[in-house]
């Protein structure tokens, strides 16, 4: 009897664990256009979780882990004058609303409809996106998605104020003069394995 209970417990635990996938090396690519040169940055140290049981999906990356493709910008960003301690990470928390349709045994590309909140800096957006998932051999999930975030007018004002505070008064530039787009593209790629703890 005890052995049967142990086997049942072990089986249930394994089944539950088998439904949870994670990675600590997901990739988030952020892009914003402007008149001079597009600003692009990458973060390869993003942690992500996906539960096939509940449909919960979450990824989080530290702002300091972003590396700008433009070397000069990367140097400025890595200087100690930039303070990001108030909002240290980019975060998405959501749920796949059609998780019941997902088949772990299919090798085809499956699309999950994910609804959740995306937090960047002090911006929060309710977002609904399609997430493409391919099941690879060895229970590896390749997960790809693309978010778009439009910066609100009041946040552009905050950014202009920040530039006025930081730059000499004689340099009279703002985001509209630089042609900075209010749209931020966020691409996410994750190669997730089974969570084994």
């Amino acid at each position: 009897m005890r052995i049967s209970l142990f086997i049942l417990f072990f089986h249930l635990t394994f089944t539950l664990c088998a439904q949870e996938f994670y990675t600590r090396t997901a990739h988030v690519h952020v892009k914003s256009d402007n008149r001079i040169k597009s600003i692009e940055a990458d973060n390869y140290q993003v942690i992500a979780f996906l539960s096939l049981e509940s449909g919960d999906i979450r990824f989080e990356g530290l702002l300091r882990s972003f590396e700008f493709r433009l070397g000069a910008l990367d140097r400025v960003y890595n200087s100690r004058n930039i303070d990001i301690s108030e909002y240290p990470s980019i975060l998405f928390e959501g749920k796949a609303i059609n998780i019941d349709e997902f088949d772990l045994n299919s090798s085809k590309t499956q699309t999950l409809r994910v609804k959740g909140n995306l937090f960047i800096w002090d911006e929060k957006r309710v977002t609904e996106v399609d997430v493409n998932v391919i099941v690879r051999p060895g229970n590896i999930l390749d997960v790809v998605s693309a978010f778009n975030m439009r910066i609100e007018e009041q946040s552009v004002d905050k950014l202009n104020q920040l530039m006025r505070d930081r730059l000499p008064k004689s340099i009279n530039i703002n985001t509209s003069k630089l042609g900075v787009s209010r749209d931020i593209e966020v691409d996410v790629k994750m190669k997730m394995g089974l969570k084994n703890w």
């Binding site: 600590r24 090396t25 997901a26 990739h27 040169k37 990458d42 390869y44 140290q45 942690i47 989080e60 990356g61 530290l62 702002l63 300091r64 882990s65 590396e67 700008f68 433009l70 070397g71 000069a72 990367d74 140097r75 960003y77 890595n78 100690r80 930039i82 990001i84 301690s85 240290p88 990470s89 790629k189 190669k191 703890w197």
Partner: protein
């Protein structure tokens, strides 16, 4: 008139050179940077576990030399080597992503190692970026 044209051409040339310098400037590296803290992986992790805000005030954006044992070796999506240092926690550790252009080397689990990296905060692990192996 010629002087004005030369002046304008000079300005255009200067702007072009400045633009090329900005565009081709390499990314920030920490190879020759001064180390701010020398600490063991377990101690660093425990400080973050105890009080993340306080630990961030000390270590965020700073260059840290950290010693520990390799718990896991992975490769990220850019092909960089990622070394997780053991912190006797079971869940988290210290995650060190080796800098772009680091020489490909063989590392072993349980190997003692000393790594210098830029501390970017804590997720499940304490995260170090642009890392360089100094011992191991």
């Amino acid at each position: 008139m010629k002087k004005i044209i030369r002046f304008i051409l000079g300005i255009v040339l200067l702007v072009l050179i400045a633009y090329l310098v900005v565009i081709t400037l390499p990314k920030a590296k920490i190879d020759n940077a001064e180390v701010d803290y020398v600490i063991g992986a377990t101690e660093l992790y425990e400080q973050y576990e105890a009080d993340e805000q306080k630990a961030n005030a000390s270590y965020l954006g700073k260059i840290i030399e950290v010693q520990g044992k390799i718990q896991m070796i992975e490769e990220d999506q850019a092909g960089a080597t990622v070394i997780i240092l053991n912190c006797d926690d079971g869940f988290g550790g210290v995650m060190c992503t080796l800098a772009e252009g680091s020489k490909a080397r063989l590392f072993e689990v349980n190997q003692d190692i000393t790594i210098i990296g830029l501390c970017t905060g804590k997720l499940m692990d304490v995260v170090l970026n642009k890392c360089v192996v100094v011992y191991g």
